[in-house]
């Protein structure tokens, strides 16, 4: 009797253990195991929407989408694998070892075998689907830049998201392996441009055959972005710039709309999507730095263009009048140091000095006004801080001042520094966009505009979202005197920009030659036209391009071609 009871209690214990085991599996590990079960039988085939298009102000396409055909295998059992792989590789003409390796990995998730198939390949692979139902050809929209290099710095390029961006953007629904924009509009407006991935989820049985569809989420296309760029002007500008290193900006002086913005050398954004790694790494290693947008991310010494700041400061502070003259003898001794002018100009008033870009006049005026006032007016005219442009990676440049020098280097400010500052040398750093914006102040008679490149997103006008032009408190006379000088630069036979006088539209502007030893100087030209009622501000910058004259030549070609095409 005793023995029977022992056996019975033993069995009861076994049953209790079984219940405990059941509890462990179903309740404690239940959620985990159910997840595994769902992974077993739920397959997801994603479908990409198309990224928003980027068009110019007239609706011409700059960045669109093309169709790429991808070969996707949804693993199923009972398929003659070797046979299938042989047939696939006959179509694609490459070794099938890779595919076999991927297939036999035993995954049950859909595998992308080949991207970017040609249409012909896609069609013939599509026919194989009859024999091998696991073959799927998926048509995916892929970003394409039909104009290749055109406006490449404005647009940016696309690539797989990096870790830094991922941590920043995770909260906005970005995931690893997402394709996001880098630089330019693609990065700045990625949130609007990006499509929402859709897809079909379906249940499969143990052999991977679809049983029923569980859900379908249609992909959502990205929103279109319209730029203020005019593709026709952009093409002219890029043609004129050619292979030279530099940047050209054309802007509407009243509302800050950028009509053309080019930086050279450039890159072909298509290369980044084609995963052409050798081309991409060459682009990044190139000493000419083709990936840098020189128009906004390059800070350079301003050269003579900075004289406008000195002139404005002096006229506003009433240190000089329209008729205050100084004698230029080719050089000026400040303290113990001798500062040169590039020529001997004789007696010069403010307009003459601007026309001839006389250094001695501005040394003297600069010393009269004082470094701090020059610094203040530079800031008023938009230098030394970002312009509020709506593309990323804008540099803010630098304008020295006695205080900043004291703080950063513990050195005193000498009159020689003031003299250097007066002609835009020394530590002055500006971006071509800042110069464009400064020139617009003289074109629109006293307003600092907010340069921008987006006109509308998804048909919604961005006008309200851009900052309104700010009034710079300059007296009308100041602007008039300076404008007279700027006009004279072109129209006066001795003006530094006289080469532009032959163009069939009245231009005003200022050249600049910024010393950049040991290499040759940077060439600047910035101006506006037509003079009476300005509609365009232009800034041409050539990195190590020689004297400002060369920039005038580029500007001349741009304006002439714009005239030819009736764009002015």
């Amino acid at each position: 009797m005793n023995r029977a009871r022992i056996i019975f209690w033993g069995l009861s214990l076994v049953f209790l253990l079984l219940v405990a085991g059941l509890f462990n599996l179903e309740v404690i590990r239940g959620r985990n195991l159910r997840g595994l079960g769902e992974k077993n039988c739920i397959r997801l085939v994603s479908q990409r929407g198309s990224r928003g298009r980027i068009v110019d102000r007239n609706g011409l396409l700059i960045a669109g989408n093309r169709i790429s055909y991808d070969l996707i295998l949804i693993p199923q059992e009972g398929i003659r694998q070797n046979d299938m792989i042989a047939k696939i590789s006959r179509v694609l003409g490459k070794d099938a070892g890779l595919e076999r390796g991927r297939l036999s990995f035993g995954t049950s998730m859909p595998v992308v075998i080949a991207n970017n198939l040609k249409l012909r390949e896609a069609v013939s692979l599509g026919q194989l689907k009859i024999d091998f139902p696991c073959i799927n050809i998926q048509a995916n929209p892929v970003r394409g830049y039909p104009e290749f290099k055109l406006a490449c710095h404005l647009l940016g390029y696309l690539g797989e998201i990096d870790r830094w961006r991922l941590t920043k953007l995770e909260d906005y629904g970005y995931k690893t392996k997402d394709i996001v924009g880098f630089g330019g509009v693609e990065e700045k407006y990625d949130y609007y441009l990006r499509d929402e991935e859709g897809g079909v989820s379906f249940q499969v049985d143990h052999r991977g055959r679809p049983v029923r569809t569980l859900g379908f989420k249609p992909p959502v296309n990205g929103k279109d972005v319209q730029l203020t760029i005019d593709v026709r002007i952009q093409k002219i500008v890029e043609g004129a710039l050619g292979d030279r290193k530099g940047a050209v900006i054309i802007m509407n002086p009243y509302n800050g709309e950028i009509l053309a913005l080019a930086s050279s050398p450039g890159f072909n954004p298509n290369a980044f999507l084609a995963k052409d790694s050798s081309t991409v790494s060459r682009l990044f290693k190139d000493p000419a730095a083709p990936m840098i947008n020189r128009a906004i991310s390059g800070a350079y010494p301003a050269g003579s263009i900075f004289k406008l700041v000195v002139a404005a400061a002096a006229l506003e502070n009433r240190k000089i009048t329209r008729h205050t003259s100084f004698l230029c003898q080719g050089q000026l001794k400040v303290g113990r140091q001798e500062f040169k002018c590039w020529s001997t100009h004789g007696t010069q008033d403010i307009v003459d000095a601007l026309i001839h870009s006389c250094n001695v006049f501005f040394y003297r005026v600069g010393l009269l006004v004082g470094a701090q006032a020059i610094h203040d007016y530079a800031l008023r005219l938009g230098l030394s801080h970002t312009t509020g442009f709506d593309l990323p990676y804008e540099k803010q440049g630098f304008i020295p001042s006695p205080l900043l020098k004291k703080i950063s280097t513990f050195k005193n400010w000498f009159d020689g520094d003031t003299a250097n500052l007066s002609i835009g040398q020394g530590d002055v750093l500006v971006t071509p966009l800042q110069i464009t914006r400064m020139m617009a102040v003289f074109a629109n008679k006293g307003y600092l505009v907010n340069p921008h490149v987006t006109k509308s997103i998804n048909g919604k006008d961005m006008f309200r979202y851009h900052k309104k032009p700010e009034k710079v408190n300059l007296r009308p006379e100041t602007i008039n005197y300076i404008n007279d000088g700027l006009r004279g630069v072109i129209s006066d036979p001795g003006g530094t920009g006289n080469v532009l006088s032959t163009v069939g539209v009245a231009i005003a502007g200022k050249t600049g030659t910024a010393q950049a030893p040991p290499k040759s100087s940077h060439a600047w030209f910035s101006g506006f036209f037509p003079f009476k009622s300005p509609r365009f501000v232009i800034c041409v910058f050539l990195e190590h391009g020689g004297p400002g004259y060369y920039s005038c030549l580029v500007a001349k070609r741009v304006i002439e071609e714009m005239l030819e095409q009736g764009l002015i």
Binding site: A4, G30, R34, L36, G37, N40, C41, D205
Partner: protein, 367 residues
């Protein structure tokens, strides 16, 4: 007291209803007529099984005393027949074709061995007073019965069906204990088994070694030998507390779980009925086995007593090994879950065994 046979039948039929529901569910997604009416076949087996139960429960169990040797020889004959001309399915030769019915002699052999051992250990001396088994020496207590069960066991293992073969051994050991054999012989027996295990490893077939290895760690071969156990655990775990509901278990419906209607029916049942259903099923089995033990303990006739123990043990061992294997607590062996798994032989033999049990309870009053 009179209702013991009714209680047994009631519990058995309840389990059978759960079996029909599970089989219907796990085969409902399959194409082909064979799969579509498989639950009808199971219903037929259950109906026939109940008939067997009613017949057997009205045959005095003492008759089995006389039939023991005949039954023993008959099952040996069938097992030999299987080896010679059995049909091969799932890589094993376990079945004999009788027209449209595939008979699995090893199922019958389990029951016959229980009867045989019951008879052997209930021999009495000339005066018919004391049980011999309490005074057996090592030869009569261990070697003779071991010899007799080793023959069918070897034949079953040779099929190959290691699980069923070992079940015979697992019935033998507690029967030894319950037959009041001296404890030292029992320890000898256990020591013998333990020491022979390393040698037995060499006699195992490749797939059996694989199964033992994946029992220890299913993830060494997740798509091969470990696949079944992983899928079975997933199926049970997906059930959660309430289960996914009848006809909605993805593991069995979409056939990720192999043998979802036979050996792994517990997993597919648990997936759809959850912890609640699993506990109810376990409780039903527990009641059935408890009933068997109660009957055995109340029976004073040693043959009836041991036979009732043997039948209860046979049920208990099969149920616990099958469910433990479903949950990954035991290596995978081809042992069906009595009354749940699809299969005529198992259903028939189980109902016959329950019929004997019912009769032992009924006939007790006679003595």
């Amino acid at each position: 007291m009179k209702n013991a046979s009714l209680t047994i039948l009631l519990i058995a039929v309840l389990i059978c209803i759960l079996s029909l529901l599970s089989i219907f569910s796990s085969t409902s997604q399959r194409e082909g007529e064979i799969w579509q009416n498989i639950y009808q076949r199971q219903a037929l087996w259950i109906g026939l099984g109940i008939m067997f139960f009613l017949i057997i429960s009205n045959i005095n169990y003492r008759r089995f005393w006389d039939w023991t040797y005949f039954l023993y020889l008959a099952s040996l004959f069938f097992l030999l027949l299987v080896l010679l001309l059995g049909s091969v399915r799932l890589g094993a030769q376990r079945w004999l074709r009788f027209g449209w019915f595939n008979f699995q002699p090893s199922e019958l052999a389990k029951l016959v061995m229980a009867i045989f051992l019951a008879r052997y250990f209930s021999l009495k001396d000339e005066s018919n007073v004391t049980l011999l088994s309490e005074r057996f020496g090592v030869f009569r207590a261990l070697i003779v019965p071991l010899f007799f069960i080793a023959i069918p066991m070897g034949l079953i293992i040779e099929q190959p069906d290691l699980g069923t073969g070992l079940i015979v051994l697992f019935i033998f050991i507690p029967m030894l204990y319950l037959a009041n054999v001296k404890l030292k012989y029992l320890f000898v027996m256990l020591a013998l088994i333990i020491f022979s295990t390393p040698f037995a490893w060499n006699f195992l077939r490749g797939y059996q070694k694989d199964r033992l290895m994946v029992f220890l760690n299913p993830n060494i071969d997740p798509l091969g030998a470990g696949y079944t156990i992983i899928q079975s655990k997933i199926a049970i775990g997906s059930g959660g507390f309430w289960g996914r509901g009848w006809l909605s278990g993805t593991q069995s419906q979409l056939r990720f779980l192999p043998e979802a209607h036979t050996d792994f029916i517990f997993a597919s049942f648990s997936e759809e009925w959850g912890l609640l259903g699993g506990i109810v099923l376990l409780f039903l089995y527990y009641l059935l086995i408890r009933k068997g033990f109660l009957i055995a303990q109340r029976t004073r006739d040693q043959f009836g007593r041991l036979m009732a123990f043997g039948i209860s043990l046979m049920l208990a061992i099969q149920v616990s090994i099958n469910i433990a294997m479903n949950m990954g607590f035991a290596p995978i062996v081809g042992i069906p879950l009595p009354l749940m798994s699809y299969g005529g032989s198992s259903i028939f033999v189980t109902f016959i065994a329950l019929g004997i049990l019912a009769n032992i309870d009924k006939s007790r009053a006679v003595f």
